[in-house]
């Protein structure tokens, strides 16, 4: 088993942290994993993405060029990474912020109104958890249980958001 | 017969090889006397510079280290931060302290590192053959400013005590000279005070010493002392430029 995913969005949307959560859950499952971040020159509002690989065997390079899955949180990321999804792969996009329609017909596509769902839960910042929930339910790189158990490790000292984040993850899984 | 003048214990038996009339030998002896008087030979580390005084470690009888040109204050910082209880002094010439190592000097001073800098200002590069120093005075002739230093061409010299006194970090800055006996005694008092400040853990101290370089200046030893008196002191006034120990504790 080897799953490669690129999670991309604005700086501040929590895409890097979402990737760290995924990698941590993989580590908990004793799988091999790598997380490689890429930032724009700007600290906030610029583009940010990370590549995460989860595998049952040794991972060579952490750089992902043609991922099995792309999670696009905003339109520039959607434009940039949609063409890179592997044939037969998966594109999850944040339909709250992306009005364009995907033009690939050789991949599976899942539209997630992540911001609307997160706002519905009262915490707009948990949009990243919604998409991770959807991704885990769809592609099963790790179990949802291990994602949830990894939350305190990835967000230490933010226990008050634990329930909210778990909620957001569940909402994401329900979409699949 | 009572012995009233002897070699300080902190000096080795090696005869100094400095030119006749050179100020280095006097300052070396003053340092040794101060180390003896505070009885700190066994906890002192001296830093020798690049320049004529690179052989300082042969003459002083304590732990010694020689550091890359201009970097004594950086090395001293490393030593004091790791071993706050040792007494560290750096011995630096004008090229070392005010040209290649200006950044190290200013930043160690502004960080308020607790060591003592002994700055030999002879307005010339003695060891390499009398080239222009950052402290060479206007009109002073050197082998790289043969018609005399022209500020329009060579820029102005750096006045170290004045410059550092603008910083918050230093505790004590004084300029002294070696041209006559009374001034040599003042120089020793300044050195002693600088070491005292370090012993008390108060912070950065620097003593600038106007020192004759008869060979570099092309003068006899006696004329060199007169040159300090007539030319240098008027350009580099003696005195205390900063002394936080005089203020009441806050």
């Amino acid at each position: 088993m080897k799953q490669e995913v690129i999670i991309a969005g604005f700086g501040g949307q929590g895409v890097i942290k979402a990737g760290v959560l995924l990698a941590t859950a993989a580590m908990v499952e004793k799988k091999h994993c790598t997380h490689f971040p890429s930032y724009g020159a700007e600290m906030r509002g610029g583009t940010a993405n990370c590549s995460v690989i989860v595998s049952t065997s040794e991972i060579a390079s952490p750089i992902v060029t043609n991922p099995d899955t792309v999670i696009a949180m905003n339109e520039p990321s959607f434009d940039k990474f949609q063409p890179k999804v592997k044939k037969g792969g998966l594109l999850i996009y944040n339909s709250s912020l992306i009005s364009k329609k995907p033009n690939r017909n050789d991949i599976e596509i899942l539209a997630v109104p992540a911001n609307e769902i997160a706002e519905g839960l009262g915490t707009p910042k948990s949009a990243n958890m919604v998409v991770i929930g959807a991704y885990v339910a769809k592609a099963r790189p790790v179990t949802l249980k291990n994602i949830k158990s990894s939350l305190p490790k990835v967000f230490p000292g933010k226990e008050k958001f634990l329930a909210v984040n778990k909620n957001a993850l569940d909402k994401g899984t329900e979409l699949v | 017969m009572q012995k009233i003048f002897k070699k300080p214990q902190s000096m080795t038996k090696i005869p100094m090889r400095y030119c006749p009339g050179c100020g280095h030998a006097i300052v070396h002896r003053l340092i040794a006397e101060v180390i003896d008087e505070f009885d700190i030979k066994e906890r002192t580390i001296g830093i020798a510079p690049v320049g004529c005084a690179v052989f300082l470690d042969e003459y002083l009888n304590c732990d010694m280290i020689q550091v890359a040109h201009g970097r004594c204050p950086a090395a001293a910082t490393g030593m004091k931060r790791v071993r706050p209880d040792v007494i560290v002094f750096s011995y630096q010439g004008d090229g070392d302290l005010a040209a290649i190592g200006t950044a190290e000097t200013i930043h160690a001073a502004t960080r308020g590192e607790n060591f003592t800098v002994i700055f030999i200002n002879n307005a010339i590069y003695g060891m390499t053959g009398g080239q222009q120093a950052p402290t060479t005075m206007p009109k002073q002739k050197t082998t790289t400013s043969v018609y005399g230093r022209d500020p329009k061409i060579h820029g102005y010299p750096i006045k170290v005590c004045e410059m550092l006194s603008a910083l918050d970090g230093p505790v004590y800055l004084e300029r002294v000279a070696l041209n006559k006996a009374a001034n040599v005694l003042r120089a020793k008092r300044a050195l002693k005070k600088a070491f005292r400040i370090q012993l008390d853990g108060l912070g950065f101290s620097l003593v600038e010493i106007l020192s004759p370089c008869p060979t570099g200046w092309g003068l006899t030893p006696r004329k060199a002392c007169e040159y300090v008196d007539e030319k240098m002191i008027s350009y580099y006034p003696l005195g205390v430029y900063k002394d936080l120990t005089q203020k009441k504790p806050t």
């Binding site: 760290v20 | 090395a75 490393g78 071993r83 706050p84 590192e113």
Partner: protein
């Protein structure tokens, strides 16, 4: 004279009660390469760091700025790289396990100080997290500072022990090895990484226990003040040419011992290989992908990954060159490692080259193409 409150920076002597081990030995954690390196250094006894910020290694000083404080060490953000390395010179001379880190441009400035440390026979550890060059270059991962790291660059006949990790696991555990080698041979030792190894996260665990610096073997050459002993002098000026020649031969003997005893490398599938890839660090990781893909297609690829770039694993490459016809050097530069491979192969085999300079990382696929091209 009035007694004033202490105006100078406070004592930074480690206090036993302040030691914090933080992680259990063997505990698996997801860590960033740069942070693993920094924690690994503290764990291995680093108590003095001086450096100057430069991307892509900034996580190292940022981490150490608070972490060293926790263990009673000293962190100084110096005014320049030149000052930083000379602070290390002083701190090492009085006995601390010292460290600095930078990228190529900063290492250039530190090299004079490193030469001085080899001349003074003072141990020190530094990390170079390479970015694209020359000049200001860019901040992407590169391997263009191989010569800078393995050949020195400052004055004199000197060498630096150079370790090249290719995972976060090794980033975290090599500082201990570097400190041990540096102390053993009284010579600087370094870790050569790149932006990718510094920035990536992977599960890792420390393989050694938190070291109590008070229990490290005493050093009989450091300066502490000459109480109850003869005074010590550290001086790198040796005016008499016979004396300097003698010292250089001493270095020669020392470097010979290092070459005999400290070569480290990783060997994969070399037994039946038709072609051997030689690569280190990130390029070696990429090449593992190539190896797996190639073997699936029936191409017998082997891999030699030098872990010590100096001393270079010359002997094994030379031996393999007697029976393997083709070597492919993969590196993220226009060809630096290849010169060491050429020296090791001694003309006995064909040496091919696949380079990606400028901050680009090759893919396993493109290296496989280069393998196929080489075997044509």
């Amino acid at each position: 004279m009035n007694k004033r409150k202490r105006l100078s920076p406070k004592s930074s002597k480690p206090k036993r009660s302040m030691l914090k081990t933080k992680y259990k030995t063997g505990e698996r954690m997801l860590m960033k390469g740069n942070e693993a390196l920094a924690e690994g250094a503290v764990r291995a006894g680093c108590r003095f760091f001086a450096g100057y910020p430069i991307t892509p290694q900034n996580e190292i000083p940022e981490y150490l700025s608070w972490r060293l404080f926790e263990v009673g060490g000293t962190f100084i953000q110096a005014e320049s790289e030149i000052s930083a390395i000379n602070m290390l010179f002083g701190a090492s001379a009085v006995g601390a396990r010292v460290m600095t880190s930078s990228s190529g441009c900063g290492i250039s400035l530190k090299q004079e100080g490193i030469s001085y440390m080899t001349a003074a026979e003072l141990p020190c550890f530094y990390a170079s997290v390479v970015r694209g060059g020359p000049g200001l270059g860019n901040i992407s991962p590169a391997q263009s500072d191989y010569f800078q790291s393995t050949r020195g660059g400052a004055q004199g006949d000197y060498r630096v022990i150079c370790l090249a990790p290719n995972s976060v696991q090794e980033m975290g555990n090599f500082p201990k090895l570097a400190y041990d080698l540096a102390d053993k041979y009284r010579n600087p030792a370094m870790v050569l990484a790149d932006g990718l190894l510094g920035q990536m996260m992977e599960p890792m665990g420390f393989t050694f226990d938190f070291i109590d610096v008070d229990k490290l073997p005493p050093k009989d050459y450091i300066l502490t003040g000459c109480k109850n002993r003869k005074r010590r002098i550290i001086n790198t000026l040796r005016m008499d040419s016979d004396r300097l020649e003698k010292f250089n031969w001493k270095l020669y003997e020392k470097y010979k011992r290092i070459k005999e005893n400290e070569v480290r490398y990783e060997e994969r599938y070399t037994d039946d290989a038709d072609i051997i890839i030689v690569a280190y660090g990130t390029a070696a990781r990429v090449s593992i992908d190539t190896l797996v893909r190639g073997r699936e297609e029936g191409i017998k690829i082997g891999l030699i990954r030098p872990i010590t770039l100096w001393p270079f694993p010359r002997k094994i490459i030379n031996e393999l060159a007697s029976r393997v016809e083709n070597f492919l050097v993969v590196e993220m530069s226009i060809g630096q490692l290849i010169e060491d491979v050429q020296l090791a192969v001694e003309g006995k085999a064909k040496i091919h080259f696949h380079g990606r300079p400028g901050g680009n990382v090759p893919t396993g696929e493109e290296v496989l193409k280069a393998v196929k091209q080489a075997l044509k």
